[in-house]
Symmetry: C2
Subunit: 219 residues, 2 copies
């Protein structure tokens, strides 16, 4: 645990800086963490999806992590800060993967790639909607976080915009349909809850086909 110099811990350390240089060189190590940041964010995600923004509490999170509530305050001043940090964490990973779409140079491959990526990160869309519920904060850190989120959100759209532009350039996508509708559909359909437990394969293929060629037969 003490050697995770990952993205997440960098975010976390912004407030409670250790008074020794940082936990790499040969500083005093102090006691071991009872929970990793990855663990914390994982439960945060679960709880956000289960209870929504307003239903998320530090008490619930502490319970899942089997620590005291007070411990969380060592790393995050409040709910807004924790959740925006978490959103940045998720978004960063998503964007890092999305970036690779630029390597593929024809539309068909990009479509396959994008579809698979969004499908593998189904919750992202729901989380983004939850993110819209965060009230504008007075807290410096939180304002900074939401600004960065905004930026990453735009960056995300710009990659997807390129995808659509390519599709229209190759005459693969219908030119009269607005770009944001194309993107909206891809995002939204993937989030359809499979309440009836259709097998994954069939489910994915069906959705992909409808998006591509519709649910109507071509007579």
């Amino acid at each position: 645990m003490h050697r995770d110099g990952s993205f997440a811990s960098i975010i976390m350390m912004q407030k409670n800086r250790p008074r020794v240089t940082l936990m790499d060189g040969g500083g005093i190590m102090a006691r071991e963490r009872k929970f990793s940041t990855e663990e914390l964010f994982q439960y945060t995600k679960q709880l956000l999806l289960e209870h929504g923004y307003e239903g998320f509490t530090f008490s619930l999170l502490a319970e899942r992590l089997e620590i005291s509530r007070g411990a969380i305050y060592k790393y995050f001043e409040n709910k807004e800060e924790l959740i925006t940090d978490f959103m940045l964490f998720e978004m960063k990973y998503f964007l890092a993967e999305l970036k690779e779409i630029a390597e593929l140079n024809d539309f068909d491959r990009q479509f396959e790639f994008l579809f698979e990526l969004i499908f593998r990160n189904r919750e992202i869309h729901q989380l983004i909607e939850i993110g819209r519920q965060i009230p504008s904060s007075l807290n410096e850190k939180v304002r900074n976080n939401t600004q960065n989120l905004e930026k990453m959100h735009l960056e995300m759209y710009s990659y997807m915009q390129n995808f659509v532009t390519l599709g229209k350039g190759e005459n693969k996508l219908k030119p009269h349909i607005p770009d944001v509708v194309v993107l909206g559909i891809i995002f939204q359909t993937i989030a359809i809850p499979n309440h009836f437990g259709i097998p994954q394969d069939l489910w994915v293929q069906s959705i992909k086909e409808i998006i591509s060629h519709g649910m109507f037969t071509n007579k």
Copy 2:
């Protein structure tokens, strides 16, 4: 107000029955209501969509209605009861409209009808998802309400099932796509938030076209 013998007030009166027969014949009328049930449900809808299930409170609702919180308890024992009553109210209206689909006897007309109906009731889908968050209650009335909701939900699906069966029978819908995927897509795509403010007409037509024939060109 005192002469609304509507659906809503019938639900409401289950608990606090007036001691005179009921408010039709010539009973004593007592003082006038400061808010109608329709008004109450309208704000309930707003608040549920804004804050989600856990964010919804009697305090917020009372504030919007410009009454005291206590007044609401005259009609509903608690949040669960109010929200399930509200859900029944919404569902009832939706189902009443949906029923009429059976009058149309070809698939194309049913498709137009269904699409228009769901589009006009865009929030229904979101509300149904919020409804899933209601914890199973000990309260008699609430258990009864959720059971009825379940029934209406199934009834809703059965009407739509008929629609899909008809479509497949007429060879209009692709036979290999599972029925629930067809329904899921129709429901979900209509709920796409139009964040970029595309004109309504263009928005609806684009979505309808993608659902029907896909976003790909037929080359």
